[in-house]
Amino acid sequence: MPSTLASAERPGGALPAVLNLARLGVTFDTPRGPVVAAEDVTLSVAPGECLGVVGESGAGKSQVFLAVMGLLAANGRASGSARFQETELLAATPAALDRVRGAGIGMVFQDPMTSLTPHLTVGDQLTEVLLRHAPLGAAAARERALTLLERVQLTDPAERLGQYPHELSGGMRQRVMIALALASNPPLLIADEPTTSLDVTVQAQILALLAALKREREMALILITHDLGAVAGLADRVAVMRQGRVIEVGTAARVLKTPQDPYTRRLVLDARRLDGTADSPKATPARQAADAAREPVVLAVTDLSVDFGVGRGWFGAQARLAALSRVSLELRAGESLGIVGESGCGKSTLARAALQLLRTTSGRVVWLGRAPAQLPAAELRSLRRDLQLIFQDPLGSLDPRMTVEEIVAEPLRVHERALDVRSRRAAVLATLAHVGLTAELAGRYPHELSGGECQRVGIARAVVLGPKLLVCDEPLSALDLPTQQQIVTLLAALRAASQMALLFISHNLGLVQQLCVRVLVLYLGRMMELAPAAALYAAPRHPYSRELLAALPSVDPDIQSARLKAVRSGEPPSPLAPPSGCVYRTRCPQARPVCAERVPAWEEPAAGEGIACHRWRELS
């Protein structure tokens, strides 16, 4: 919600800026010569105002603010001016800089796992900062630490004080980082990609927390992110950076609703397609429902359960983790099904179990009418040509010692032995062209390609044999927003051109709706709801589906601030100790006693739809 302090585009400004950057530049000395990460950056932030700094990764956003804090890598140099209140930071002595850091400017860093000291407890790290900037006694410091943890909505704060970072979940760690940055009440908080590695519901919680903190403390906030939806509900002003320069700056409403720079326009457009609102594109079924029912079933999964043994007691006793619990689905040729849910919901396990890449505990999997579990190994392997998989890590899924051509040719070598070298090469080049790669890249190695190119190679490898089913395991989460969009478009095109069925797994509902006609929602390994995408996004039946959709960040500032206000708190339960009855009940706003007593049955209100909730009829 825009604050009253910054209603106009900003010349002059009512109050002296907390932070003023003038022609700031950052250069790195590398063996290949100097590399300019940022140049001519002029920005300012007023007290109590939130400035969003957005752009693709590599745009130099983080480097600018690392330079402001004096935290650049050893080979980095900053030029220009960065004034914090009265101090010129770029020329400050180390002692002066230390005083500003923490007490003047608090910084929340990108990846909470690697940004917290692993061998010190949360309590130790908090009290350390508190004692550094204020003369407190040990007991008083502990009190303050507890208060801080409560304020950042951390459950069981007293217990957290004694825990180590690796014992906390991603969302909890991020809250600890925020607490650490706020410890000495700084007038300015810089948050560098604070939501990137988190689940969408936790992202929403963190953003709502930051909004509340900014209001209470009248603290200036700089939010650095590549996710436009994240700034929409929070920022008063937005600056867009590209290749180290600020290309557009203005109020959030203006920049996000009516962007002027063509690059900004493209960013906003791409983001709009993913926010689940009315005008984002949806996938269309390949053929009419009646015809579709006559297509052969490519994949049928019935009551599939996968348990893992975890940990090892003194006598080999293991805890059982139910990664997947009685999941069923059916996919015909030409269909597309999306599987969504947060981390730990079993999506990847489902993908691998369906492809028989890991051992299942119970249930059945049928491929094209045949049960792979009963086939001899060689026959199973030959069936695999029809069911392919693309992976989350684009670079990791490619053998670093093979060229692109060798990688894409391997399925041909295994399944089409009769092909001679020339025809094989021709097939490879044709497939590469299909996925938008030039022939020149055929001789490259994976480490020489960008993330998007690597993912295209993975797709090429998967489709070179013309498979009947393509399973996509979170293939986009490691990519930039524009690249994500390109890959989604590619997959949609591939699907339209052939009869290939698509099983698309992602935590990003915005992307799923572009590709998939039906969506299955999982939580803690259990099915929650199955519905056509259009119906699910417009009128979700299950409370969890509603929570997921509400947490989707929207680029429209008005919609996003409303969404942030409605965010609920709550951590997902541990998969080792799932709640009794309906597993979602601990977070469900509609939970009743019956939800704790019985596991809800899977009901099918219509063909191809399903829901597991005791109260769905009353709630719709």
Binding site: L383, R385, V414, H447
Partner: protein, 289 residues
């Protein structure tokens, strides 16, 4: 785009390029080459054999006299030919022993890592037990078990123990590799396990092994010299850098050249091989890219 097109293709040429630019490595290679050439050519450069006795020149310091450029020892044997013969022997033994231990180590580690489960458990427990003893002790035990101390026994003892570290390294590499997604991708594509091992696992494991190989050779030289120094390795009258140094240490106060010259050669060999190995390791380090 063009910048990448112009960049070197693949890790090997990239690494070779970086090796050539490293002055320490180039110097090390030069020293190594010089010493090897000298050692091979030595018999042609001198009239003396390694155990021929020159009664007229006992314990003589290095001089031009009678072609005793490195001097003689107490028994009148020419130190030039003995030192270089020792270099030859050390190089031969250590290269062979390294080859043996590498082959055993790579096979053991790859099979254990790839098989996993109980096979892996038992195979590595065996390695752990042998590892818990200072390895030289095992070598000493082995050499004492055999009736005669000949070179073959020495080779066997050195090789039989040197493979432990290689096996560990290869197994760790294989385990890490097994979890990489491209191995899973190969399985999902329907590639048979044997083909996965040969086409995907082995090429990716070889890199570190090659680097480690260059570091094993100096370790073997060191171990062999160590044993010979103690009297358990190469025996008199054959010369090894180890037993030459032993004798030299005894004559320290009166005839320092008997120690200094073989020691200098040993140090030169070890230093250049270690520098070469370090250089190779840095050249292959992906983070330096």
């Amino acid at each position: 785009m063009t910048e990448r097109a112009a960049a070197a293709r693949g890790r090997w040429s990239d690494a070779a390029r970086r090796l050539k630019g490293n002055p320490l490595v180039v110097a090390a290679l030069a020293v190594l080459a010089a010493v090897t050439v000298l050692a091979v050519a030595a018999p042609l450069l001198t009239p003396w054999g390694y155990d021929s006795l020159d009664w007229r020149h006992l314990a003589q310091p290095p001089a031009r006299v009678a072609a005793h450029w490195f001097g003689t020892d107490r028994l009148g044997r020419d130190l030039f030919v003995r030192t270089l013969s020792g270099v030859r022997l050390s190089l031969l033994i250590s290269v062979l022993a390294s080859a043996v231990s590498l082959v055993i180590g790579v096979l053991w580690g790859a099979v254990a890592g790839f098989a996993g489960g109980r096979t892996d458990g038992w195979m590595m427990r065996f390695v752990d037990v042998l590892y818990s003893l200072p390895y030289l002790f095992v070598v000493i035990i082995l050499t004492s078990l055999f009736p005669s101390n000949n070179i073959a026994v020495l080779l066997l003892a050195l090789g039989a123990v040197g493979w432990l570290t290689t096996a560990r390294i290869v197994r760790a590499q294989t385990l890490a590799l097994k979890r990489r997604e491209f191995i899973e991708a190969a399985r999902a594509s329907g590639v048979a396990p044997g083909a996965i091992l040969l086409r995907h696992v082995v090429p990716n494991v070889l890199g570190p092994v090659v680097v480690y190989a260059t570091l094993i050779v100096p370790q073997m030289i060191l171990s062999e010299s160590f044993l010979s120094f103690l009297g358990l390795g190469v025996q008199e009258p054959r010369a090894s850098l180890g037993n030459l140094i032993y004798v030299g240490a005894q004559e320290l106060e009166s005839a320092p050249w008997m120690l200094l010259l073989p020691a200098a050669f040993l140090v030169a060999l070890l230093l250049s091989l270690n520098l070469l190995g370090d250089g190779l390791r840095d050249a292959f380090d992906p983070r330096e890219r």
